[in-house]
Symmetry: C2
Subunit: 348 residues, 2 copies
């Protein structure tokens, strides 16, 4: 194992000072073209690679950002491809600015985020936490630039990027109503309704649903809330409850994977989609185009979400924080085959 070659080796070999080599490497200061070439040559010959940890020590910047996703533990959240896309967006955005990302799953209960300080990360991106969560306090306590994705935190001092969940949900619900559905079940997640305000994303989507109902003059019926996890298995079980709800002809599921579960459950019960039930999802995963029937769903640009978060974070790090602290991306609706006319078609 050959000895590492450092900046002083280069300096000696090139017959200049280490400061000059440093300047050449970083393109700073004044140095003549002749010297630049000489130093570059030596760098190539010796195969010198700058030692970033050493640089970090001096500059107090690591060009490293942490990305924290909620319990990436096997079995928990890995079952939603959504996060992979988001990560791809973040990674790409970071790479474009020659930052690297340190990825870590967290166990909300135990995570102290100490690694952020220890490793002197320049910033942190936190995905999908909630108002009042331990994580939020701990992160803000760090005093490190941070951006929260999909978290809907009340503290308006925090940088956040969200989807316009309420609007998206409103559009989906309105569409079902237009199609003639009046009793629309909601697969909302495994949460106590009295605390829904704490579940940012779910809350917003729930509000959007209610907006649409209200606009159409349809009374809100709490019995239509199906409180099961928005996972494949949750969706599958939700079908059981769905078929017991009288007069319900549609279900809006707060994630595509759970909608797939619903589809599967309904098919096993020999309920036709969209004949007997219309189903609508949320996320527009790449897969959703290939289910049978293909899934009508609320769409979002996940990659762009990642990009936006990185941009916001890097601006903070560079000391030129964006004036807007909250970016809200638009939600779309893509109509495919799981939705069809309901019983009240001419009700408008």
């Amino acid at each position: 194992m050959k000895q590492e070659v450092s900046i002083v080796d280069v300096a000696r070999e090139a017959g200049v000072s280490i400061a000059t080599v440093s300047n050449v490497v970083n393109g700073k200061g004044r140095v003549s073209t002749k010297t630049i070439q000489k130093v570059r040559k030596v760098i190539d010959e010796l195969g010198y690679t700058p030692n970033l940890p050493a640089r970090n020590l001096k500059t107090k910047r690591t060009d490293l950002i942490g990305v924290v996703v909620p319990t990436m533990k096997p079995g928990r959240l890995q079952d939603n491809p959504f996060y992979w896309d988001l990560l791809a967006g973040v990674e790409e955005g970071a790479r474009d600015r020659s930052f690297h990302i340190i990825l870590t799953g967290i166990d909300e209960a135990t995570e102290t985020f100490s690694f952020v300080k220890e490793r002197r990360l320049d910033g942190l991106i936190v995905v999908g936490t909630n108002e009042g969560s331990q994580a939020v306090q701990r992160v803000t306590g760090l005093g490190v630039p941070a951006v929260f994705i999909d978290s809907y935190l009340k503290d308006s001092g925090l940088y956040q990027v969200n989807l316009d969940d309420r609007q998206g949900s409103y559009r989906a619900t309105s569409y079902l109503i237009e199609q003639g559905h009046r009793r629309i079940a909601l697969l909302i997640g495994d949460i106590p309704m009295e605390r829904i305000a704490y579940y940012g994303v779910l809350h917003e989507r729930w509000l959007g649903y209610r907006d649409a109902l209200e606009e159409a003059g349809i009374p809100y019926d709490p019995r239509l809330m199906i409180k099961l996890p928005t996972s494949l298995a949750g969706g599958y079980k939700a079908a059981d409850q769905l078929v017991e709800l009288p007069d319900v002809t549609a279900i809006f599921s707060f994630s595509d994977v759970s909608a797939m579960g619903v589809l599967k459950g309904l098919k096993e019960k020999n309920k036709s989609v969209p004949g007997e039930y219309s189903v609508i999802g949320f996320d527009n995963l790449f897969m959703s185009e290939y289910t049978s029937p293909s899934l009508t769903t609320v769409s979002q640009n996940i990659i762009e979400k990642g990009h936006a978060a990185v941009r916001m974070l890097l601006n903070q790090i560079d000391g030129e924080p964006l004036s807007e602290r909250r970016i809200v991306l638009p939600a779309g609706l893509v109509v495919r085959e799981t939705t069809g006319p309901g019983p009240h078609q001419s009700s408008e």
Copy 2:
């Protein structure tokens, strides 16, 4: 922004030398219980956090490993949830040993892996590259501990972890044959068959398919190879070709997502599964249980794959390399609903 507190602040405040503080922090050297407590107390009061980059500079270890996945570029590979699971396994394994992972997508054409040297990463995990790829040469040229996942590199000096793809493929094919299928199409990927030996994973699976054929005395028919990408879209298009192949009653697809595409394509053509066609996938994604009909597929423990790679890498880093350079994990077969009896049932 309060000044960072360093080891010397702690030392001064506690009235000991910095060497002693260092020893307390790292649990090394000899230091009396009384001093330990005193120092610990001061550390808490001052809120001291060790500076890892500084430590790295001195120790030449970063406790950081790089994870490289093939072009995590939007649109490319993100469309296979497989990688997310793998990443979860790696991350978890690393975290257990208090390593962190730096994740980066690569563009095989341009990536030089210079970040590995610059950041002084302790090791590297590379996923899904191929024999003869630029990436392999560059990584080995780095002289850094590395483990290749799903790469089937001939150079037996390299550490690798693979699935027993050949065996898995053999089992799947044999199962179809047992069920009475004799002409079995293969959705093999968008590659030139004359170069198949370079595509490690695909090659092995192809060999497994041929093993099973040979054992059953069924001649290999190259016309049954469908050369389309093993993606959702590829699978969907594969259905077009499938229905044109005379007497074919089954298709074996080299990924679950592409099998889902096939399912969708067949349904649109009003071909029944498993009535007219049996379909079998590869990977056993969590979703595969929820397709309609649910997918028969070759299963693997992806999380364990990640764990194994980390273990292998960390042993190298610790200077106690495993004697076996290649770990091969077993493949299973999970039979669900997309496979059924074929026309030659009593052929055995």
